[in-house]
Symmetry: C2
């Protein structure tokens, strides 16, 4: 590790970083230590203003793009070099926690602060970005800011999306942009030399393995299906099983077959049936209709493709008595992060003496879109019991600071390449 | 078979019996050929008046007991002899059909008509009873009239039960009794020499076997449970399966274990999971709570006891990850019908040249309570595709008449014993 990177990492201020989480958590605070900070809301605007007030204390410059992604830049020595970027999002789930998203923004700002205090110079600029609407809780779909910034979907496509109260994204966005009038205008797809996103794990692996730093190797692929079983209702007392078209029985048979398909002694494959609706849903009536969801995830592109493609034929084979409709509802191909960037993160953790673990991300993040544009990876820090999207979300100040130290060192490394 | 029994059976009038079903179906008619005739409603009162108007054309006498069970008697030669009884109920499910219950009452009346027309005399009186509130759709529990008549539960226990609109059974009953002021008062538990109930099968066995007459050997036993699985919700993408407390996964494991427990190559055991409620019921959230119903039935007392008693320990063994609560919600022990009565029914079917089949009843009936008081059995006739508790319920006029013929002959046989 470079000497200046080690110095800057040492300047990361655990108290300041923790205090800023506490201040951000005041904006949209809900009972039970939670946060409700919807994208493009008054709370989102307040969070943006607070972030910019901290940036204004330094010589950092600010820009914003057409969907409200907010960029805070610390200059490099080469004014023409593409920046190295870090960041995450400031919006939350309706009943969200104090760390999901906001940690990546505040850790990024802390890295800039630490570089400033250490007097580090980098060839490339280093930028913190706060992506708009990662959660998608108010305006679907999620990861919208990075999606539009990277050109995966044009801005015009999302402007007329409305929230549950009928407010158009176009209008909420105009209000949000008007609240930061001094920010320079940033183009979509403006070049980036690299992107590192810090985030709480939202899972229990680091905590269980007693590791402080997760070196995230990619984001796993995902296949969603709705499976509908069409049977026939009958009297539960009078109809022999051989004569039934019991939608519940076939649903169970399909779930058993899918559990066998996805069985994984390494416990990498994720298989979840989280939703089931039964008709008529009466104890003494054979079910005439069952709808259930299937969620399968795996980091390997070949594996998730094989598993996802097997769902419909396997379900048809397992359903012995009833009709079937299998509807794919979502498909995200796996994203494999850039090896030099994951190596830089791992080197930083190693040099700083922080216990670390390579792991894929189970959840989606803005890094998924940035990975299409530039060398990208992520840093995870532990969260208590893996709980997230919940008021009970919690993380240790020391772990948050450790993640920011690794981030600082890795950004300096990349910003001098 | 006695000569007079054969004569009387020959007097059963298929047209009259069918026409009376059609007239009864006008009372509480709903779209799709269905009937909504709740117990102790204005429709129930109208059905009672129509029944009594037909009885009044003959020399039959009428009595009513304290819960509104209505008795129509054709006198025997021995005024002191206990009557042989037949009947069923006139109330229906909220979206019920034209045959469930009412067939047993009209077939009984048709038997009395046929005996009258054939000039048959019997030693014992023969009575048709219309039991109050067999369905329990308005006032729970079901089979209430026979339950109270036979002393299984005192009248005082049910008088304060209310319907969904807050009307007390006590008041609805008073209105019903006031509508038949000329009926003599009948005591609960007044002696009976035998009871035969005719009913549509409500299952597909007779139709599938192409048999006209079901000689019902008993009513199978039933065990109901609510099983609740208490897990923990987690992110479907991030949590390894080994670390999950997935309530759905354990629910499926329990259902698999119960399916294996109840597996029956003879297809006599009935096992149904008809109801399932999942929390939070979201595709990408591991289920924190699943509640499902278990309905197991078998005609053999030892078998149903063994199966029912195995549910809770087996569920506890199958649930690998979650907490469990197993609540028994209903237990009906099997009822074995009286052999001389089933033999009389079988002899009648045999002599009349009607294809018949011995089978247990899958559903509960008022005969279950009468069997505790006197020699009892039932006659089933086929219903289309086994459909019941449904507007689509249907039966063939010839089958209804065949059942009434067997009933007539068997009643005459019993009434001379």
């Amino acid at each position: 590790m470079r000497e200046d990177a080690r110095d800057a990492a040492g300047r990361v201020d655990e108290q300041r970083l923790w205090q800023r989480h506490a201040e951000m958590a005041q904006i949209g605070a809900i009972p039970g230590n939670g946060v409700n900070r919807a994208a493009l809301s008054q709370e989102d605007i307040a969070a943006r203003k607070l972030l910019l007030s901290w940036a204004a204390r330094r010589t950092f410059t600010v820009s914003v793009d057409g969907i409200g992604n907010l960029f805070v830049r610390r200059a490099g020595t080469d004014a023409n070099a593409a920046p190295v970027m870090t960041g995450s999002h400031m919006d939350s789930q309706p009943r969200g926690g104090r760390f999901d998203g906001i940690y990546g923004v505040l850790a990024g700002l802390e890295a800039l602060e630490a570089m400033h205090e250490a007097g580090v110079t980098t060839r490339r600029p280093v930028e913190v970005v706060a992506w708009t609407n990662e959660e998608g809780g108010r305006f679907a779909p999620c990861t919208m800011g990075s999606m539009v910034f990277t050109g995966a979907r044009p801005l015009a496509d999302v402007l007329d999306i409305t929230d549950n109260e009928g407010i158009r994204l176009r209008d909420a966005l105009a209000d949000t942009l008007a609240a930061t009038p001094h920010a320079a205008r940033r183009d979509f797809r403006s070049p980036a030399a690299g992107y590192i996103e810090a985030h709480i794990e939202q899972g229990p692996l680091l905590e269980n393995a007693r590791k402080t730093i997760g070196v995230v190797t990619g984001i796993q692929g995902l296949r969603w299906f709705n499976i509908e079983v069409f049977g026939k209702t009958d009297h539960a007392g009078t109809t022999p099983l051989a004569l039934r078209k019991d939608a519940m029985r076939d649903a169970i048979a399909i779930i058993n077959a899918l559990a066998e398909l996805t069985h994984d002694t390494q416990d990498i494959t994720r298989f979840t049936v989280g939703r089931m609706l039964v008709t008529p849903n009466s104890p003494n009536s054979v079910a005439s209709h069952v709808l259930f969801s299937v969620d399968i995830r795996h980091p390997n592109p070949q594996t998730i493709a094989r598993l996802g493609d097997a769902v419909a034929p396997l379900a048809r084979k397992a359903a012995k008595f009833c009709g079937l409709k299998v509807t794919p509802t979502l498909r995200d191909d796996p994203c494999v992060f850039n090896v030099p960037v994951t190596d830089a993160i791992e080197d930083a953790a190693q040099t700083l003496g922080l216990p670390h673990l390579r792991l894929p991300s189970g959840a989606s993040h803005d890094a998924m879109y940035m990975a299409r544009m530039c060398p990208t990876a992520m840093i995870f820090v532990p969260c208590e019991k893996g709980i997230s999207h919940n008021e009970a979300e919690n993380a240790a100040p020391a772990d948050l600071a450790a993640g920011a130290r690794v981030l600082t060192a890795a950004l300096i490394e990349l910003a001098n390449r």
